[in-house]
């Protein structure tokens, strides 16, 4: 298991470095801009004007709360970062095993005395670690501007809570994409479908505050349950976090069972039909 985790992390080095730098730069930039924003009367006037002239837009982006560090992060950081990292999570989930399968490298790895279970869980843990590392980089990068900022300050532990909530949802996107990759004919199809669901969840959640028709749909949108400012102010809702972790676990267990029972494709084979769901329940 350790060898599988180690080599999976090694092959994710590029993703960790690339995404880590991007997310760190974004977090530092957003943290640094806060002083500029609260120090500018003109900017605050513009925000206040929005709440009067365009209340719907102001509600979507919660402009009224931007004069506090928590509100600023809620609007300028947590409003779109889950979409970005969510897309990364779907890509990671779809690639967990299907990329090696399509590249043909899985064939030789599984010809060694490593069980499908060890390979599956080793890869899953490695990818989960990659997501945790990226979230920790983002968290640490938001703490960094607090060292020089006069106004931007949130206790480190409390700032960790929105990232904890985000972790549960990212894991949901990753495991959903992983499940799709076990069922779909190709990794790209799985990644694309899961990515579309992330995008749909983002827009439904964002617009549900102003479009009444989307309110019911938002109940089924994972990002609706992302806690950002609320987690910092009132603490993490452990019930919802627990529900997401439980769903993640169910999805990953189904994927594991599918991987246990399926044929491993030879590199280059492209035209596979949808895997038969009954294979989950019926042992060959």
């Amino acid at each position: 298991m350790f060898t599988v985790i180690r080599y999976s992390l090694r092959s994710s080095r590029g993703a960790i470095i690339g995404w880590g730098i991007g997310l760190a730069a974004l977090a530092i930039m957003m943290g640094s801009f806060y002083d500029m924003m609260v120090g500018s009367n003109e900017m605050m006037d513009v925000m206040n004007a929005y709440t009067v002239t365009m209340p719907e837009l102001a509600e979507i982006f919660n402009f009224g709360a931007m004069n506090t560090p928590i509100g600023w992060l809620d609007v300028e950081y947590f409003s779109f970062v889950p979409l970005i990292i969510g897309l990364f999570a779907t890509g990671a989930g779809a690639s967990l095993l299907a990329r090696d399968e399509e590249d043909g490298t899985l064939d030789l790895i599984l010809a060694h005395p490593v069980s499908r279970t060890v390979l599956f869980w080793g890869r899953f843990l490695a990818n989960t670690l990659v997501i945790i590392i990226l979230l920790l980089i983002s968290w640490a990068s938001l703490l960094l501007p607090m060292t020089w900022s006069e106004n931007f300050s949130i206790p480190a532990f409390e700032l960790l809570l929105p990232f904890t909530s985000l972790f549960g949802i990212l894991l949901f996107f990753m495991t959903l994409s992983l499940l799709f990759s076990m069922l779909m004919p190709a990794r790209r199809t799985a990644s694309m479908l899961a990515g579309m669901l992330v995008g749909a969840s983002f827009f439904i959640t964002m617009l549900s505050g102003v479009v009444d028709e989307l309110e019911r749909a938002a109940d089924f949108s994972p990002l609706t349950y992302l806690e950002t400012a609320a987690a910092i102010e009132d603490g993490l809702n452990l019930t919802w976090f627990g529900i997401f972790i439980a769903i993640d676990l169910v999805l990953v267990l189904i994927s594991w069972q599918l991987f246990q029972r399926r044929d491993v494709r030879v590199g280059g084979e492209g035209s596979w039909r949808l895997q038969d769901l009954k294979t989950i329940f019926i042992k060959k």
Partner: protein, 291 residues
Amino acid sequence: MVKNYGRVKALKGVDLDVNSGEIFGFLGPNGAGKTTAIRCMLDLIRPQGGSISMLGINPQEEPEAVKERVGYLPGELHVDENMTAREVFRFFNRLRGNRSDWEFIDELSERLKLELVSPIKNFSKGNKQKIGVVQALMHKPELLLLDEPTGSLDPLMQQEVHRMLAEAQNRGATVFFSSHIISEVQAIADRVAIIREGKIVEVAVTENLLHRSMRQVRIRFQQPTEAEELYKLPGVKLIAKDDSMGLLLQVEGQMDVLIKTLAKYPVNDFETERTSLEEIFLAYYNGEKDK
């Protein structure tokens, strides 16, 4: 074994016994089912029917126990191309619990002139194939499953790999290899199976197959002769008639009857040539020896 991919019947009932310690050639053209059979043996794909026992173990029930003792070379080698050959060997060695002897790995690499420290993405197809050969042999497995082991190698390297397989056999290993290079099978296999469209059509000791196989007989008479009775003999087939003085015949089985019949005729020249495994193989594929 029976294996279907949807409506495609890849293996229609492959029945094989491979003896311990032998080099067994598995001969067939692309798409005949060679790779499918080998991948079933390693539990990479699951057959719909039949059973497999390797080294006394059912690979579907105890895949790791089998793979512990097997070395596998896939038909097309795919590895992480950002790694070097040494890193690939280290990775596979770790998956095997660090069982391999690095001196042996270095020796195999040296014999195949394999560069160990450059990234694999810079390698030619032949050099990648060498990595596959070394990783299959490096832990001195009891059973080698090799899917077209010398496909991309130059003739010198092919011979080196043949020597390595012979050495593995001398150490007690069993070698099961698929190939469509008939000369290779003829050169190193103790026994051979021919697979056609998912069915085994022949299993034989390579030497016996060659001996009991067809011969071509070229006869030159001293004068124009019809000699129709010659190619009406059982097992004899007329291939060509060269004016009225010469005949080219294909003879399957014993030559005795043909020679005795021919003794009645004034013969100027008589040449016989045993068919190669390639011709036997082609005969199966041309439907001449359907079973």
